[in-house]
Structures are given as C-alpha cells and as structure tokens.
C-alpha cells in the first residue's frame, strides 16, 4: 500500500472500528427516512412551507447523510487532534495529515450517502437515481466541512457536538422547503442541495443554478474541511 493509502486507510479504520458509528450508520438513515420524513411534511406546513410527502421522504435521506457526516467529521477532529499533531510533528507535516483526513472523510461520506440512498430506495423507490445520489452526496460533503470546522474551533466534545446539532437544526428548519419563501432560508448551506433533492424526489429535473450552487458549496465544504484538518494538525498556540 502507498504511503498515502496507508495513512488514509488507518484514519478510516479508526472511524469504522467504533461500534456505535456502525450502528448509527444504519440507524440514522432509517430513523430519518422512515420516521422523520412523515412528520417533516407536517412541520413544513406549520412553518409555511410546501414540502410534499414524496419530497419530504427524499430530503430526509439528505438530512441523514448531513447529520452523520457532520458528527463523524467533528469527532474525527476532536478525538484525534493530539495524535494527529504528534504525527505531523514527527515529520509527516500538517498538509499530509490533512489530506489523509479528507480522504478518510470522503470515503465515509460516500458510505454514508450510499446507506442513505439505499434506505430511501427501499422506502419509496428513486425516480431519478443519479440526480438523487448526487444531491445526497452534496449534503454529505457540506457537513464534512461543518463538522471539521466546529471540531477545530471547539475543543469540548459536549459543546462541539451540541453546536453541530444546533447548526444542523437551524439548517433543517430554515431551509427553502420548510419555510415560506425568502429570508434566512435562502442563505442556509444546504439551500441548493435541498432544492435538488426535493426536485429529484418528486421526479422532476433541477435548474442549472441549483446544480452549480450545490456543487460550489459542496466543494467549499470540502475545502473548509481540508483547511480545518490542516489547522488542527498544526495547532501552534
């Protein structure tokens, strides 16, 4: 195995060896798609949104991927900060540690997206497979960035995980599908991804602006994660 493969492989192994992570990998998508989705439409109606049942089921797969990736990415930083720093100091350098971490995060993001997609497929079928799969992965990529950023800024595991949940909750309940048009909802990180998934879940196409916007924010999320992993591995106070 190449040096890079060995580093990212060990970082990935570190995450998937936590039994709770494996349980949550199945439980979170199941909870979101099978249970959360049914009440999401009612919430949306109460908040002035117009989320149809089919779209609510689809978007819940995106939220599941986002939540899981945010939490995993956060704990990747917070639980490994000291060891990563030592490895960087030993000669690997923060840049190589960060690229190893981003590769492991991307691999986890793909696994999480596949599980969320399969759960959605089992629950309601998927009319536009590629469209929906890409939208779910955009959710995952954005939250890899959110989790890593919070992990770098907040040291306490309790405070950090609560902040991930807070950002996630604000994002979910302020998004375009959940509220009446305009206002804060247009500026949430997953605004375009939500539009894509709602359209895909309803069997419709999406405008190019949502694809470009979603891809740009997903790329930005991964870039933020890369910088966060770098700063965390360098960490000179």
């Amino acid at each position: 195995m190449s040096g890079f493969g060995a580093i990212s492989g060990n970082f990935l192994r570190e995450q998937i060896r936590a039994p709770l992570n494996l349980v949550l990998l199945v439980a979170i998508p199941a909870f979101f798609v099978l249970i959360f989705a049914s009440v999401l439409g009612e919430f949306a109606e109460a908040l002035g949104g117009d989320l149809a049942r089919q779209s609510a089921t689809a978007i819940s797969a995106g939220w599941a991927a986002a939540f899981l990736c945010g939490a995993l990415s956060y704990f990747q930083v917070s639980s490994s900060r000291e060891a990563d720093r030592r490895l960087a100091l030993a000669g690997l350098g923060p840049r190589r540690v960060a690229t190893g971490r981003i590769a492991a995060s991307l691999a986890l993001g793909v696994v999480v997206s596949v599980v969320a997609y399969l759960t959605l497929w089992l629950r309601s079928g998927v009319a536009h497979p590629l469209h929906v799969a890409a939208a779910i992965f955009i959710f995952a990529a954005i939250y890899i960035g959110v989790g890593a950023l919070i992990g770098t800024l907040v040291r306490g595991p309790l405070e950090g995980s609560l902040l991930v949940v807070l950002v996630f909750s604000l994002d979910v309940f302020s998004g375009p599908a959940m509220t009446s048009s305009g206002g804060f909802g247009n500026f949430t990180p997953t605004n375009h991804a939500a539009n894509l998934l709602i359209a895909g879940g309803g069997g419709q196409g999406s405008p190019t602006s949502d694809w470009i916007g979603g891809a740009a924010i997903a790329f930005g999320g991964l870039l933020v994660a890369l910088v966060a992993f770098f700063l965390s591995a360098r960490g000179r106070g």
């Binding site: 060990n10 995450q15 490994s80 030592r86 490895l87 030993a90 000669g91 690997l92 106070g237």
Partner: protein
C-alpha cells in the same frame, strides 16, 4: 548540530526562552508568564534532567522545543532528528500497536525493512511484543506508555525528549527504562528527561531546575 572543541556535538540549545499564556475574557483576562528566559543545552551522549514543581512550565518548554507551541521570545537550535515522548500518550484509541508503528514509519520516512526492524527490536526491548495486534484502548496505562516511548525511538533520534516518561511503569519496566536510556546515551544519543521528581540523579549528566520561569543548573 555544532561541535565545540573536543566536546560532544550540541544537539539542543535553548537561550532566553519566554512564553506567556492569556486566559479568560475581559474584564477577567489574565496573562500568565510561564517562561521568563529559560536556558538549557543538551549534547550528544548526555542524559540531562529538567525538574520543577507542577505548573512550573516544564511541559511548556518541551512543547515549544518540539514545535507544539509558539514561543514569545528566545532562541532554540533543535537537532535534525528529534524524538518526542509526550507526558500522556498521544495515540489513536482504535488503532493497533502495529498500525501506530506503520504511521510513524511513514512520518519518519523509514523504508519497509528499517520500519520492521525498528518495530521488532523496540517491541522486544520494551517487552510488549505480545500486544502488537492490540488496539490502544485495550492496553494498560503502562503498556500505552511503552508504545509512547517506542514511537519516539523508532527513527534513532539525535535527541530524545521525554516528558514524565515513566508514569504508569511498574518497577521492572522502570529499571528497564533506565537501562535502555543508558544504552542510548552510550551510543551517542542526547536525552532530556522532564519530570517533577527525578529519583535517579546519579545517572544524569546534568540537572536543570525550573523555578519562576527560569532554569538553574545544579
């Protein structure tokens, strides 16, 4: 690395090191001056001690030397190859002992043969070869500390920095630790041991005490 006359090569030189920490938010913001001009040096083949009370700044000094913390002032001349054994093992709980060796071999740029040789010899020397496939979370405190030490020694550094290295060691391992340190010293390695309590002073070439942010030799 510099050589002075017939003396051994200097592997670490610290001159006038200063470091302060700022804690809290206004109006309760406080500045704590931890190091106020600390000096020390270690030559190849020397076993040097740095002692001080809890909170005297020993670990801060060491973290500045290895690059974990920035200094406010002063000069440091570090060696080319540095081995750092932190006070608490900075390791990944879910990875095995062997996987740790593999990651650090990558960091030290050791090829496969050298990495395998270093791993086998350190596992043997510190007597924890039977834990090779154990995850760190499954190891006792003492065995974690052995791994911590082994990772710092893998690449045969010119200078070995040990921060409270024998915490968690049983008596046999403690004795073996000092024998191992002696062997490394005889082979030319410079060793700096930081501890709040140094019981084996007769083994040391020199001892610095850190008081009020300054080092005193003797």
């Amino acid at each position: 690395m510099t050589t002075v006359g017939q003396e051994r090569a200097l592997v670490l030189s610290v001159r006038g090191l200063r470091k302060s920490f700022h804690r809290g938010l206004p109006p309760r913001r406080r500045t704590i001056e931890v190091l106020r001009g600390a000096n020390l040096e270690v030559r190849g083949g020397e076993l040097v001690g740095l002692v001080g009370e809890n909170g005297s700044g020993k670990s801060t000094l060491m973290q500045i030397v290895v690059g974990l913390l920035k200094r406010d002032g002063g000069e440091i001349t570090p060696p080319g190859r540095l081995g750092y054994c932190p006070q608490s093992p900075m390791a990944w709980d879910k990875l095995t002992v062997s996987e740790h060796f593999a990651l650090f071999a990558e960091a030290y740029q050791l090829d496969e043969a050298r990495s395998q040789a270093a791993e086998s010899s350190l596992l043997e020397e510190l007597q924890f070869a039977s834990y090779r496939d154990f995850r760190v979370e499954e190891l006792s405190g003492g065995t974690r500390q052995k791994l911590n030490l082994a990772l710092a020694l893998m690449h045969e550094p010119e200078l070995l920095l040990l921060d409270e290295p024998y915490a968690g060691f049983d008596w046999e391992t403690y004795v073996r630790f000092w024998e191992m340190s002696e062997r490394r010293r005889e082979s030319g390695m410079g060793i700096l041991i930081v501890s709040h309590l140094l019981a084996e002073r007769e083994r040391l070439s020199r001892v610095y005490s850190l008081t009020d942010g300054r080092t005193v030799e003797g």
